[in-house]
Symmetry: C2
Subunit: 197 residues, 2 copies
């Protein structure tokens, strides 16, 4: 418990974060397939085995990057929602922010939603940032809407689908704005079955 061990602890934590940001930067500039343990070690100026004293393996590093990503996503969505003028515009603002996030940080988004991670979703030990991101969607619907969670799930799924299908070229890259418009209009809360009598 001496001052020295405290310093070591600090250094260790610093290096821990270094690894995460190095992985993220490398992924964002050259894609995840370029993120190898060797290049990562070189970038942090340590040898490979130190990576394994911080993380259980490469997947764990990806998971750590993804977790950071969820914190940023939650903040990004929250900012968009609170900046919306009327509450009716919040839904559209949050959805647009989500698609922005996905297209501007494709590697980060991949880590969060496509690459295999150890993160636990939708359970008791779900990390707070994940929960916070989801709650931003839930908050776009009225509190008296008893099925807000369902709305949020489907909305999130649709946005994820749009993001990932357009990113991989499976859907034309333009027309995102139209899709957003359509989605928001159709899925806003209000009466459950507005069509059938």
């Amino acid at each position: 418990m001496s001052a020295i061990s405290e310093r070591r602890e600090r250094e260790r934590a610093h290096r821990h974060q270094m690894i995460i940001t190095a992985a993220r930067e490398l992924a964002e500039t050259e894609g995840w397939e370029a993120v190898t343990t060797r290049r990562l070690a070189e970038r942090v100026e340590y040898s490979q085995p130190v990576l394994y004293s911080h993380f259980d393996g490469k997947d764990a590093i990806v998971s750590a990057v993804a977790l950071d990503g969820f914190s940023e996503l939650a903040a990004h969505l929250r900012r968009a929602r609170q900046a919306a003028a009327e509450p009716g515009q919040a839904l559209r603002a949050v959805c647009r922010a989500y698609l922005e996030f996905a297209t501007e940080r494709p590697a980060l988004y991949q880590a969060m939603f496509i690459l295999p991670t150890d993160l636990k979703f939708a359970s008791a030990e779900t990390p707070p940032p994940l929960r916070a991101s989801f709650d931003e969607f839930v908050s776009c619907f009225r509190p008296d809407n008893k099925r807000r969670e369902l709305f949020a799930e489907v909305l999130w799924s649709a946005l994820h689908g749009i993001a990932v299908l357009s990113e991989s070229g499976r859907i034309p890259p333009d027309g995102q704005e139209d899709r957003l418009d359509f989605l928001v209009t159709q899925i806003a809360d209000a009466p459950m079955k507005p069509i059938t009598p």
Copy 2:
């Protein structure tokens, strides 16, 4: 042009298909990470290099599997749509069939939508099965709906999101039926903005 070279051509085509089905079976029983060129070669009872005389690389094999998958998906959706009693039920039937397909053949679905492939989507040289699958969604909406394609894109995106997020545990596995209900109800054609007066 002798009979012998014809036989060789036949054998070659047969072997071509053998590789594809071997890859698919292996992926479906043990996952794509277990599909290596060595195991594939062993399974087909040839050496590795023959794979490369048929395909440009592993990605091309995955693409071939995916292409087969799109043919099956198109047929599956078409069957569901035509079996629907009333036209109003066609949309729901097709959506349910899509989710069925995704959950019952997860490896095939991965090849089609997640793994990197060489397939060209939404362009002139888009393979017919891809186009056919998409058209099944389009056909669920009325011909006088001028924005059918947009509807189909968003619908497909939402279904893909639901499929992939639940498969990877990012959304609770139960409640699929509720999501389906909600999605179909909200996105069916009919007046564009049923809520606002």
